[in-house]
Symmetry: C2
Subunit: 673 residues, 2 copies
Amino acid sequence: MKKSYWIYNRGDYEIYHTNLVNSRRQEFGVDYPVVWRVYPVEPKVDFHADITVEKDTTFTLHLNGTGYVFVDFEEKEFSDGAMLDVAALEAPLSRRYRPGVPVPLTKGEHHLRICCLNLESLPAAYIEGELVATDGSFYTLDEKGERIPVGYSEMHDSPEKRPTEFIFSYERMLPVAKEKRGEGTLFDFGKELYGYLYLKNVSEGDKIHVSYGESREEALDIKHSIVWEDVEGQSEYKLRPRAFRYIYILGTKAPRVEADYEYLPLPYRGDFKCDDESVNRIYEMCRYTLHINTREILTEAIKRDRWLWGGDSYQAFRFNTYLFHDKDIVRRTLIGMRGKDPVTEHINTIADYSLYFILGTLEYYEDYGDTDFIRFIYDRCHTLMEFCASREDGEGFFVKKYADWIFVDWADIDKDGPVCAEQMLYIAALRAMAKMAALIGRDGKEYEKKAERLTALVNEKFYRPALGAYVSSFTSGKEQVTRHANIFAILYGIADKAQTEAIIQNVLENDRIPAITTPFFGGFELDAMARIGRTDLVEHRIRTYYKGMLDLGATTVWEEYNPAFSGAKHYEMYNNKYGKSLCHAWGASPIYLLGRYFLGVRPTSTAYETFEVKPCLGGFGFIEGTVPVGDGEVRIFLSKERLTVTATKEGGTLLHGGKAIPLPKNETVEIKL
Amino acid sequence: MKKSYWIYNRGDYEIYHTNLVNSRRQEFGVDYPVVWRVYPVEPKVDFHADITVEKDTTFTLHLNGTGYVFVDFEEKEFSDGAMLDVAALEAPLSRRYRPGVPVPLTKGEHHLRICCLNLESLPAAYIEGELVATDGSFYTLDEKGERIPVGYSEMHDSPEKRPTEFIFSYERMLPVAKEKRGEGTLFDFGKELYGYLYLKNVSEGDKIHVSYGESREEALDIKHSIVWEDVEGQSEYKLRPRAFRYIYILGTKAPRVEADYEYLPLPYRGDFKCDDESVNRIYEMCRYTLHINTREILTEAIKRDRWLWGGDSYQAFRFNTYLFHDKDIVRRTLIGMRGKDPVTEHINTIADYSLYFILGTLEYYEDYGDTDFIRFIYDRCHTLMEFCASREDGEGFFVKKYADWIFVDWADIDKDGPVCAEQMLYIAALRAMAKMAALIGRDGKEYEKKAERLTALVNEKFYRPALGAYVSSFTSGKEQVTRHANIFAILYGIADKAQTEAIIQNVLENDRIPAITTPFFGGFELDAMARIGRTDLVEHRIRTYYKGMLDLGATTVWEEYNPAFSGAKHYEMYNNKYGKSLCHAWGASPIYLLGRYFLGVRPTSTAYETFEVKPCLGGFGFIEGTVPVGDGEVRIFLSKERLTVTATKEGGTLLHGGKAIPLPKNETVEIKL
């Protein structure tokens, strides 16, 4: 049998699974689908292939949907010249075959056209045959008759492994502690997990209340716990996948619980260790947080919503680069995040999140060199940017219209009129579009011009030489300075050298400017800090702020953490006592920060064709670890006495003591210090 | 209980059912979905309503999908100002309710927001309550926050009558004849019908082949019959709905068959009778043909495809006006035909069919005065016309690009370069757009200008004064003259008076110009003939051409009829022995022609607010009948001796003997002749 895969309309698999993920949220027993627009997949797809078989053969079609395979439709014209459709109308009865029957094929060249309709899920096709198979050589035709290669995944490589069922791995987990509390029993699985909960040793007559908690408090607080289920009538239950660490059960005497942890078996290609055990545990916590949220797509809030949020996953993309280095998860997430045309609202309805999508797409290219994907997604980037252009005001500032949500961060930001941070992101997105256009031979001049014009305008209207900072708004007159826009000014190269110096002094290193409280924006902040050489502040933040969560018993990174809070107050958010996500990938930035600025590895050309290694010991006694670079790795050890670097891939340069030392593949460079 | 209906995103019900209809075709045992693009419905919808209840009350939500109802979400802004979404995020746990639980509501004003997601079918909501109900007062919000009233149908007015199940009526039918033929049994139901076939008095061990036929020949020709099914394992069967007159059964000894004829119980509001029994039977055949194809939408080829074809149903719209006068079927058909945005291909991939959609939409307005619908559909008309504009060549002619299909008719038409008939339709569509724009206060000037410009260009490039006719193509040099473009030139007012006279003489009344062979284009031709006063030709065509089908045993109108053929050759089309549809609504034009030009009733203002009655006896001994006019009817009797006209509605004028005689409501005007 020839190796075969389920094929589908490129991009629709990702959108299909994103929709499923976005549909599964439940709160207080109520289904709670996403609040933004859901784009459906194309219900009808025609797959084509031009094949040659070396001898007479047969094959069998499988469809996820209804339809047929048409062998050798004639490309001759009817009286009117509509080739494809007329061929279908004209089909002699012997050449359209239904699924499940052997389709004969004579030796030689053939054209196959598979038509599949599915009004309920994802139209897809699979061919089983000795000489014929469905794979990347199949294509669909766009409206201009141009060939678009089909989508397929190596995960779905047999008739049974349909692309509608995403394939995960499972690990049986048992609680590490059990405790009688009031009328019920509390179980602790030791750390947060996501998966199926099994409920055993119960009676059919028991009316059971199962309360889930990321925290002990939440599980026990049955009035306010967000996720729960009432069951009765069975002597054993397998409950739908949910996230939890604690389970509190009422209504049955001596329940037993087990769980199947559901996860994607991605290897940890990145690693970090140092002499500070807390930092090692923080790295471990970040890694696990990212892993648990790395699923069909990069989700957030594994307990609460598991929705696909554009800004959150934009952060997570770079963590992935330094941990799994898995391009597929990024690609799936980008496609699912973007959806389809026409664009009628921002991604997640959030203006900034539309722009992160654009930035994330370019960064995906930079990390993995996937030009083919840029070619596929470019038009969707373009239509999204056209939508963004509809959000420009008379001066060309990117502003809120209708129900747009200008987020930036959970922070007190003056959002009167054009918001500075949004303009920064818009400039960065415009520049990214120009770069992507250039990559695939499209015309991106308009983007470039617009970015230049807006950069000048932003510096004119938002920058205050007297304050040495950008203000949030020039409309309100409040002249508010927050870290956000100023961090973006550095990260996206909008501030010039002098402005950057001023910002460092007046904003970044100025304690009177309110601190960032979300790990989300903290990721941007620390990135900016590290870029200006303040890795000491990064280290400090990890050793204090992140350690704060650890000390409170966190096994995963929280959505927000305010050291000033205490007790269960930590868990409150969005008007709900346990509304805060305690497992939020957007906060796992130490993975990236430690890999990029301490182990010191970064690409210097697309897809790590070349890369530099510039380790930084900071205040650590030693650091050691691995950073994935394309299909290779760099292993680094650094202490006060010794630096060793091994790259398993060409293209590396070690920067040390003012020298650039080439890193030959698979050779260890050792420097005594 | 307050009267309540299932509500859904306006237009999606029609698209949902169109998709189902378009998905049910089977040929030779193979599923055969439409060959054009299928537009999915919006999977997630938020329904809003502002209500006042006079006392404390409760209500219960039903959803087709998952979601909740949110009572009184606060419109206050979060820190960022995204009202709708943030309200959802902020929801206190007590105000989001799941389906099936009583939702309490205090006396006074409330806002309800129902969120419904359905990734598999049609998201819809139904509220059951003493004081609260879902109806046309609910709305969705478009991307600018403007309110769009929801869609709902009076058909779906209880929790059980979900909008995913279209509701039909049924009549039990028994075969009128039975005959042993070879190894099997042939049943004749006397006329074509559509519905469920019951197979009885068979054994579980029987391997039964059921062959369906519109013709006797087809049912018996088991090798070539298009629709069949093999069944075994049961002692009784209810087979999926299909169309047939004849059933041939093999593999069982003494089968019995029955059928449930499935139809829409629309009253025949129009009627026609005369002294020629054949014409009466032709009218009856046309009426039945239209009826059987009047379902969720106006389909064609009830046996073969039941697909929604834009041109075919455009013809059928006017037949409906003179028979059922049912606006709903037209509206459903137009919405289903058009689909959604972005437009990437013509309706049915046929260039002319896109234009018929535009014409049909304006004519719908003219017949029923539904401005609200024009307001709803206008943007979809506009985006379709933008797509058509992408099909203009350098000179502005509407041409074939990529996989477009230039159909016009099943006839030998010179389609080299711009095709004259297409330009005529394009001009008519441009003018229709200008009219619709004016109706709802939109700017249609560009359409008007383009129509004017193209009219001049068409007359310059296609009209041949020497021939007194338009040629099909000016590119090929063949100077071919067919009836098609010349008929359109008259129907759509593109030819001036002198050109019209020339066309009548040189084309319409010229026997050397090849005859029209499809009832489809015959409808246009006869309409044009009647308009120029040649009702004699209309009468002749009905008494000969239509009678020809009748004499061959037709119980419904055929897709195409060529009197020159004989025997089973009549049934052949599209390379299939029984490929021709013998029940094709596009040929039922006598309903329209007899009503409009013999009974002589036509609207003189929108929605028959005023109408004229100008009966024409032609060669008949007498004619009598009824024509629906808005919510009233006109009843007419005309013989050589006497004319009586009764209108049950104001606004009528009888034109007779050069005089205009007002028709008072419910009074019979009688004229002795």
